[in-house]
Structure formats: structure tokens, C-alpha cells
């Protein structure tokens, strides 16, 4: 399509000059009601919360819904977009995974709060959109295989992407399979 003064091509699509790709950062933060409940709870919230000896086990449908084929958001996505959440699997015992994440996050400048198999990582220094806040949870696929979900709770998505790259380097030894293929391409 011929270019004129009012338009420029983005991948063959004519768009308005000054077109700015929408930023979904703030509006679409993952719901973290459950994580918040764990960390903000007072005695009243303890009603259903019993001491977890083991990570929560994922059921078949929770696993199935992780398929890329069911993530229709990809229809709208472009190469530029960094994911707001990612996951990896590990064959390490869950308590050790928690310990390793804590060990890895602290030198990266994060405060760590943990409860059972949920961790809240908050960057001490404020970034582009406030303090980066990351929620992680260890879930059981099988007794010998666990999944770690890492989600941005607050802050800049690009900073989250950089943090995750650093984190996965440090955690390399415990990562079995990682979901961050798209993140690699996006980099």
C-alpha cells in the first residue's frame, strides 16, 4: 500500500500517524485475590485456610487450559508484546524451589514475603511504573513434578520481563521445562 503523509505501514496494515500501540499494563493486571488473601489476611480470613503441607495440586483441566491453542489472546498479539505471566516446571522438591526463588530474588533487589507455596516479590527500588511486584506460586503436577507460575502483579511489564530473564538464569539448575519460548522470541 502506498504511503502518504497521514499513514505509515505496520506489517502491511495502514495505520494512523501517531498511532500508539495500546498499553495494557495497568488495566489487565492478573487477579490476585487469592494471593492478596494469603498475604493480607487477619484472623477472620483464617476460616478456610489450613496449614498447607503440600502445594496445591493442579487438576487435569487446569493443566489443559495452559495450552497455547486455547490462548486466543494470541490472535491479537504482536511480536512486541511481553507476557505478563509465565511458568516453568521443576523436578526439585517444592520447599527447595521456594528457597531457591527467595535466594535468587533477594540479590536482584527484591523483598520476599512467603506463605506456604506462594511468594510475593517486591522490588525495593521503584521502577517506571512504581515498584515491580511479582507473585509466584508453586503447584503440583505430580509428586515429583511441580509447576512454578510467575506473574506480574504490579509495575512495568518490560521490567518484569527483564527480572524474569535474570531469575531464570539463576534458577537454571532447577528448571526442567520452561514456558518462556515467546519471551525468548520477543527479546
Amino acid at each position: 500500500m502506498a504511503e502518504n503523509n497521514n499513514s505509515r505501514n505496520i506489517r502491511g496494515r495502514v495505520v494512523q500517524k501517531g498511532y500508539k500501540r495500546p498499553e495494557f499494563d495497568e488495566q489487565y493486571d492478573t487477579t490476585l485475590d487469592d494471593v492478596d488473601a494469603v498475604f493480607n489476611d487477619s484472623e477472620e480470613h483464617h476460616v478456610t485456610e489450613k496449614k498447607e503441607e503440600e502445594p496445591v495440586a493442579l487438576n487435569a483441566f487446569e493443566l489443559i487450559s495452559m495450552s497455547a491453542g486455547l490462548n486466543l489472546g494470541n490472535l491479537f498479539d504482536s511480536e512486541q508484546e511481553f507476557k505478563r505471566e509465565t511458568r516453568f516446571t521443576s523436578k526439585c522438591p517444592p520447599k527447595e524451589i521456594v528457597r531457591k526463588i527467595e535466594e535468587a530474588a533477594k540479590p536482584l533487589g527484591f523483598d520476599v514475603q512467603k506463605k506456604n507455596y506462594k511468594l510475593r516479590l517486591e522490588k525495593v527500588k521503584a521502577g517506571r511504573k512504581g515498584n515491580l511486584n511479582v507473585a509466584t506460586e508453586i503447584l503440583q503436577v505430580a509428586p515429583s513434578l511441580h509447576m512454578v507460575e510467575v506473574r506480574k502483579a504490579k509495575g512495568d511489564t518490560l521490567e518484569f520481563h527483564k527480572f524474569y530473564k535474570n531469575l531464570s538464569k539463576t534458577l537454571k539448575d532447577i528448571v526442567w521445562k520452561s514456558d518462556d519460548v515467546q519471551m525468548q522470541y520477543a527479546a
Binding site: 495505520v15 495494557f24 495450552s67 503436577v141
Partner: protein, 213 residues
Amino acid sequence: MGCFHSTAKRQHPGYEDPVHLASQTAFSVSEVEALFELFKSISGSVIDDGLINKEEFQLALFKNQRKENLFANRIFDLFDVKKRGVIDFGDFVRALNVFHPNIPMEEKIDFSFKLYDMDGTGFIERKEVKQMLIALLGESEMRLSDEIIETILDKTFSDADANQDGKIDRTEWENFVTRNPSLMKIMTLPYLKDITTTFPSFVFNSEVDDLVT
């Protein structure tokens, strides 16, 4: 100079009037027009016939890594309501409508039930769930023993299959996803509320007063 609608009709079989589609869905007229932009880019990627075939759908979903995927096939089949092996614009809009944040959960639960009831018997059978679970594990390159897979299925069915008949009916499914709302996350696309920003449709001089919607 022909008006927008007749030009589009000639090039895109199954193209429907945006006003009509907007009245049937949660989308506004300009949102439907924006979806048409997306539809055109997907449907023209392999064969420029104004229809989305399976290959084009895979390309759009997996970003130029066309691959066979059980779940993408299921989604395609559900979009392809007329069972012609292709998705036209009307199909596209009406199917995406289910994923709109404003659509009632009931419709999303319906869609997800049909999604997982692969053979359309009206029940999600254990063998279907096993097949889907194995497909997911293959996709993520996780290999688990059959014993472990059976354990996962046991736990899932003891939770979801209230009458323990080895299959999940529509009511059991509704109760199950109500207890496990994260299962419905895949059924809502927040992007659909911002579609006009992602795909500005200013190229069209819409003759329709958007205030109608």
C-alpha cells in the same frame, strides 16, 4: 464510487453488515469494523478468499509456526458452525463474542463444555480428558507416566464428577468451574474491549451513526 458495504461483500463471502452483527453481539459497530481488519489479515494470509481456513487459523494463533494442535482444532471446529471447514466473518464475530468480557458466564460455560466434549455426546468423558491431558503434556514436552496421569484424572473426576459415573455432564461442569473459576480465564479476552485501538478502522468512512449501538 461504491459504498463500503457492497465492495466488502464482493470480496468477502459471508461478510455481514456491521450494524447487524453489532446488534447480535456485545460489540459496537466500530468494534465490528475493527474486527473486520483483523479478519482480513488472518483470512488473507494463505489464500485470499475472504475466509479463514484451518491453516490460516493456526498461523494466526501460533505466529507463523503453523502446527497441528488438538485444542486449536477444537476452537476452529466451534467457530466453524456451518461445518464447511472455513470460518467466515459472521462466524468469526459471533464466536469471538463469547469471549467478550461483558458476555454472561453462562455462555462461556456452554462454550467451554462443548470445547471439551470432543465427540459431542453431551458429556465430557474420562477418556476425552485423558486424551486432552496427554496432548497438553506433549505440547509442553512433559512426559508423565500413565500411573501419574491416571492419578491426576482420578483427582479431577472425584472433584468434578459428582455422581461418579465416569463422565462430567453439563451441570457437573457448571458446578465444577464455579468452584474453580480460574478454569474460565481462557474464555475471556480483555483485548476485545480495546479492539478499536488495536485495529483502528479509520480507513472506513462509516456511514453508520455509532450512537445507534
